[in-house]
Symmetry: C2
Subunit: 480 residues, 2 copies
């Protein structure tokens, strides 16, 4: 490695020195994001936004394939609507941005900039739903929401973020529950197979559930520093919102009944997850299925005859099938280019120089493993397709192994504290589901309940805190 | 037509009875939109949103193909930024919604909910642009904006709307001007070839230009009531914003220079244009290229053996290539279905009944002309593709003829007033470009200057108002 190359990489703090600084270095140097003039807000730059567009496209396809339709509800929610559901307003009031002036007039009632849209959606559903024939309603929207946060980090927690929020209404409790779980499974499928992030799925505790929900389910991922990221939630809202917003339908039996509703969302927060699950000391490592650029071609000795022509030819052939860049800048060294594309997490680099041309081959270098493969020109596109798939699977497998290695069992409080103090990762422990025990753990260790997993692989029958009988095992971790 | 069918259609006010009521009837009955709880805001329902998604996808492709990249800038703009450009703030201040409370704290400085993003984008550009190597910057964003409007109509003028806004920065005045015109041409191409709406393009008058712009160009369409819709604008901002936001770059010659910026946008307003250019007394007529459903299959005598099977088979075969619906509801009559899909503007209806199956054919009915064609099953997809293209061209041609027929020349004020009073449409007239004459026309007739067209087909050499020498011809009309 040349001096120049070393310097370039050195500018990123090492993960094991200061993970938080590493994160900040990477998002800035990879040009994903910048800080906006209002504290807590971010600008998503083209490279970050292209990543989001690819994520959106894939998830949108999955949501549409499962019968959901996109719509758009207004940004502004009058205060009286937000106040209808008591828990909901209590949960969101501290983080609402309020509009009090419209043009030149003081408003008689202040208006919330949506922190989430249950209130406005339900107010419309009560207009639209009349009969069982109108059910189910399965709507989703892609939009921005505002939550006035005290402490923020780009992608992970910002005062404005982009997301999708689904809102559905059903005739029966069973259907609503089925929908809630179906969506969680779509999210898990999306996270694992598109973003290559392994997920633990399960129930949220009473304390951690969504404000106004009967039950919240979530998927939780482990970051490389061992902390948890709540990556997506799906809420069964029971009839809480239906009753306060008066959403009733005339059933087949001639009776008026309240509907059952759900809501669910994932956001640009997932970008933070991608960074902190796959990244390394050289920068981003992006999953091929969503990488803005899947393959970059770097010509070697590009001033030599025929090199740029050949590189251009390969680019033309492959760019029909893959998202490509051809880096033919003559103001940067090859080493600099390698580093820059590695920093940007491009899954595959193709090198083509005079000798490769002679041998009718290219050299492919994987971002995730650094592995070099010489590939014959014949059938190049198929081989590249296969390599990208290998990378997609490889980074998932690596993340899965890391996560599983860093889940540890605690049988009592002493063990719990000792693990938290000496190790990174999640703790699996039996829990009596009493909020008091949850609070004790948080106060003592900073860890919170992440979820009570669907897959109940019990580690005992007594609560890790109070030693009373416990029915279920839960995951605990410090979280973003 | 059965009694039931007649009733269904009768519920739409006729265009020539009350165009404005016809518009309201159509958008509500076709289920495009609903009114939101805050006055002036709308909910875009799935059918309307699917139309917008198709429009977005097509325009986004064109903008990316011409080198533009998507990004996302924050919704909130601090007041001091908005105030930097004097004309800009003056133009937008009366319609800004202001956030004054964040969570539980009163803000020390109020924050604007973006009415447009020049201020926030330019504040970032001044950070990002250092050298001529950073130029041009060609960014676009798809987002929502808020303008506190007094009088609103769904799609045409609402307090919140969805749009794309492009913001570019260039090294030279020439490049900025080239970009401004290139974008206007992309807009025209999109409007004419995707939405099938003929456009007049040209310069806006000094009075009608964007607040803060050096020059605004627009495209203007004629609605079926003869009124104009400003359908898209592209602004050359000169160095107005560069100077107040201090966007300077180090040029090749070692000198610090201000950049030249542009901005441009089209919005959900275009949906209003589609409705009012193509619609008729039976409802919407949607251009095939953006119609959420391009082809609907309505089985005839669907209880008879083999009909639903055959209809399903055709649906399966065609839905790979076209956006399709198969209307196999057994609770509605065939006549009702015909009316409903006509109301929704689906370009092509396929009827398939027992006799058609026997004859190995389907009956295709065009929404735009009502024309019926019997099509053999063999090569059905190609024939349908061709029919949809014919419809796309046909509705453009029809709109073009209507528009051209309704542009009239006025040589003096008397003629001007008489045309306005007796006819609908645009007036073409020589104008001295003095704002006073513009105001006089507006006061006397309600018409405004729409644009000074690029294609100068002069009708004289004296101003239609003051009779002083006039260099250029302009279009005048009442406008939305």
């Amino acid at each position: 490695m040349s001096k120049q190359q070393e310097d370039y990489v050195k500018q990123i703090t090492k993960q094991n020195e200061d993970f938080s600084q590493w994160y900040t270095d990477v998002i800035r140097k990879a040009d994903l994001v910048d800080y906006a003039p209002v504290k807590g807000f971010m600008v998503i730059k083209p490279y970050g936004y292209a990543l989001w567009e690819n994520m959106q496209r894939e998830l949108d396809k999955m949501l549409k394939a499962s019968g959901h339709k996109n719509a758009y509800f207004p940004l502004f929610i009058p205060e009286y609507l937000l106040q209808k559901e008591a828990e909901h307003v209590e949960g969101f009031a501290p983080e609402v941005a309020w509009v009090t002036i419209g043009g030149t007039e003081e408003l008689t009632e202040r208006i919330a900039v949506r922190p989430t849209s249950e209130a406005i959606v339900c107010s419309m559903y009560s207009k639209w739903i009349k009969s069982y024939r109108d059910l189910p309603i399965l709507y989703n929207q892609w939009c921005n929401v505002v939550r006035w946060e005290k402490s923020t980090r780009p992608f992970l927690r910002t005062s404005e973020f982009l997301w999708q929020e689904g809102h559905t209404a059903h005739a029966t409790e069973e259907e609503a529950q089925e929908e809630t779980l179906k969506i969680l499974d779509i999210y898990r499928d999306f996270a694992e197979n598109v973003l290559a992030i392994p997920m633990l799925t399960g129930e949220k505790s009473e304390k951690e559930k969504f404000a106004g929900a009967k039950m919240t389910y979530s998927m939780e991922a482990m970051m490389l520093d061992g902390k948890a990221l709540q990556a997506g939630t799906s809420h069964n809202l029971g009839q809480h919102f239906a009753k306060v917003f008066d959403i009733q339908y005339l059933d087949r039996d001639g009776e008026l009944k309240y509907v059952w509703t759900t809501s669910w969302g994932v956001s640009t927060r997932l970008i933070g997850g991608i960074i902190m699950v796959h990244g390394d000391d050289r920068g981003l490592v992006l999953p091929p299925r969503v990488a803005p650029c899947q393959v970059v071609i770097v010509p070697i000795a590009q001033h030599k005859e025929g090199v740029l022509e050949k590189a251009g030819e390969i680019y033309e052939n492959l760019s029909e099938r893959f998202r490509m860049e051809l880096d033919d800048r003559d103001t940067y060294s090859v080493g600099w280019k390698f580093n820059e594309w590695e920093l940007k997490g491009v899954p595959l680099r193709l090198e083509i120089g005079p000798r490769d041309i002679q041998n009718n081959q290219v050299v492919a270098v994987r971002r995730d493993t650094g592995e070099k493969t010489v590939i014959e020109m014949e059938g190049l596109d198929k081989k590249i397709g296969a390599l990208l798939e290998e990378i997609q699977k490889g980074i998932f497998q690596k993340a899965l192994e890391f996560r599983d290695k860093n889940i540890r069992t605690a049988n009592n409080m002493e063990e719990f504290v000792s693990i938290i103090e000496s190790q990174k990762g999640f703790i699996k422990a039996m829990w009596c589901e009493d909020a008091e025990c949850e609070t004790k753990i948080k106060e003592k260790t900073g860890a919170t309940t992440r979820c009570i997993p669907f897959e109940q692989d019990k580690t005992g029958d007594r609560c890790v805190v109070c030693n009373r009988p416990a029915e279920r095992v839960a995951y605990f971790a410090k979280a973003y």
